[in-house]
């Protein structure tokens, strides 16, 4: 697509911009859907109906919210650090948006087939921390500051178990490319990394429990990285009002919200790529059976999106079920449980793979 546009306009910048608009639109659409989904999921879990008045079962609700937010007055507190205050939401959004470049939606749809995709995603999503700190500091509000401090501590800490599990998987699969990791787990669901990977043998069965441990650690720490309950301490509604975005109004706050949902999708997709075969179908492809070439990528997209949305749904499910941990308990979970288990897991998987 980029090539075609480049040929058409012979201008790198314009064609890049146009290509970049595609995922942006997709993410926006997804976020609109996810926010609506969250409200419906929570409502039905709580014996309610959720939005009902805007379109069929309120499916236009988020669109109405967004249009309203665009209209809202953009307030900046008098004592705020205006530059940082304005940059912060952009930075946070950029960080979570950039992660989508390396995610393989199917074997044909992938923004950038870089060899170090996994590394890139971990690196780029850390940009969010800087944005959050900026937001908390520049708001000149004590609640924001506390929220930002908590958030920074939390995200930085939870990157360690995430990185350790990623390291385990990289060691096992032997590549940093997300596309290659997905390709390895082809054919049927017992070839997924969660079930010991594609190579059949004794090692596969030994690995299954350790893969399960790795999967759980990964899921928990990604939950914490995107600030979802039970780790939503930075924005802890009942303590810190709204955490680091207390002072933000209108669309600037909307960007924080969009990036939160984009992040949810990004981490869910990484979990599903690493452990559940990414875009690979669990039962083979209809397109291959019928001999229709172009159907395969579409099927892959379907499987990828369903797996990821399932994890997004689980995140929502947890949010509306569990209470919130306290900030020190959060750190305890990370440093005393997740990291040691992740290290032990790394060593065991390493030895098993080596043998």
């Amino acid at each position: 697509m980029y090539q075609a546009l480049y040929n058409l306009t012979s201008n790198t910048i314009i064609s890049t911009l146009i290509v970049a608009l595609v995922p942006l639109t997709l993410i926006l659409l997804y976020a609109l859907f996810a926010i609506w989904l969250e409200r419906k999921v929570s409502a039905h879990m709580q014996d309610r109906l959720g939005p009902m008045r805007t379109g069929w079962h309120g499916w236009l609700q988020t669109i109405a919210d967004m249009i309203k937010m665009i209209q809202k007055e953009d307030t900046i507190a008098a004592d705020a650090d205006k530059k940082l205050f304005n940059i912060a939401p952009v930075l946070v959004f950029a960080g979570s948006f950039a992660a989508f470049a390396a995610i393989p939606f199917s074997s044909a749809i992938i923004g950038s087939e870089i060899e170090v995709g996994l590394f890139y995603i971990i690196a780029i999503s850390s940009l969010v921390v800087a944005g959050i700190l900026m937001a908390g500091w520049s708001s000149n509000n004590k609640y924001s500051l506390l929220g930002a401090m908590r958030s920074a501590a939390q995200i930085v800490s939870y990157e360690i178990p995430t990185a350790l599990v990623v390291l385990t998987m990289v060691m096992y699969t032997g590549t940093l490319s997300l596309d290659k990791i997905s390709q390895q787990q082809t054919a049927y669901f017992w070839n997924w990394n969660l079930f010991g990977g594609p190579e059949f043998g004794l090692a596969k069965f030994i690995l299954i429990p350790f893969m399960l441990v790795a999967f759980i650690i990964m899921f928990i720490s990604t939950l914490a990285e995107v600030n979802r309950t039970p780790f939503d301490i930075p924005e802890a509604e009942s303590e810190l009002v709204a955490g680091y975005f207390t002072e933000y109004s209108g669309m600037k706050w909307g960007m924080f919200m969009l990036s939160e949902y984009a992040n949810m999708f990004a981490v869910s997709s990484i979990v599903s790529i690493l452990f559940l075969g990414g875009y690979q179908s669990p039962f083979g492809y209809l397109g291959n059976t019928l001999g229709i070439e172009w159907l395969v990528p579409i099927e892959q997209l379907f499987w990828f999106v369903s797996k990821t949305l399932f994890f997004v749904f689980v995140q929502m499910w947890l949010r509306w079920t569990l209470p919130r941990l306290r900030v020190d308990q959060l750190m305890t979970v990370c440093w005393k449980y997740l990291i040691p288990y992740a290290v032990a897991n790394l060593i065991i998987v390493g030895i098993v793979t080596l043998l």
């Binding site: 409200r39 409502a43 709580q46 014996d47 309610r48 109906l49 959720g50 939005p51 009902m52 008045r53 805007t54 309120g58 236009l60 609700q61 669109i63 109405a64 919210d65 967004m66 249009i67 309203k68 209209q71 809202k72 007055e73 953009d74 307030t75 509604e237 009002v241 709204a242 207390t246 002072e247 933000y248 109004s249 209108g250 706050w253």
Partner: protein, 163 residues
């Protein structure tokens, strides 16, 4: 007052359509400031809870005034509290709406005569869009108040009023 409100001197077809869209968005997504004062706050909570479910109308409570569109004054406003309510109102971004819920917020309610520390009506400090009578109003009454507010928003205009 939103960014574009009362910015245009005449209304052509584009403006009226945009106006309709904007008004629709505003009225379908009235986020209230999660803020309870007194007895009525309990009925307000009951309205957002399962049985009556405010969320059907797109109303969700936000805890910070910066992200709220409407403030429901749910209960007696005392003199000590009045200055804070004014501050909260000023912190909300435009366009903002106010529902005065219950007799106390409307006019002092049962405390109108001997209440030496009760503000006799919240409209003495901030402008009110919709008054909901009752002591306390039933959740249905509050929902009715919300529908009235939606009705009011539906007729807002981007064009300037002609003299």
């Amino acid at each position: 007052m939103g960014i574009l409100d009362k910015e245009f001197s005449d209304g052509n077809i584009v403006i009226t359509k945009v106006e309709d869209l904007f008004n629709w968005a505003r009225l379908s997504s009235i986020w209230q400031l999660g803020f309870g004062l007194a007895c009525c706050a309990i009925e307000m909570m009951a309205t957002s809870a399962s049985h009556y479910d405010f969320d059907r109308f797109g109303v969700i409570p936000r805890n910070t005034p910066r992200q709220a569109d409407a403030i429901i004054i749910s209960g007696t406003v005392t003199l000590k509290m009045a200055t804070r309510i004014k501050r909260l109102y000023e912190q909300m971004p435009e366009p903002k709406y106010i529902i005065s819920m219950g007799s106390c917020a409307n006019c002092g309610g049962p405390y109108w005569n001997h209440g030496y520390h009760v503000l006799k009506g919240v409209d003495r400090v901030i402008p009110v869009d919709v008054y909901v009578p009752g002591c306390p109003p039933r959740p249905e009454a509050l929902l009715e108040g919300l529908l009235k507010l939606q009705e009011k928003i539906r007729h807002e205009s981007l064009t300037k009023k002609q003299a």
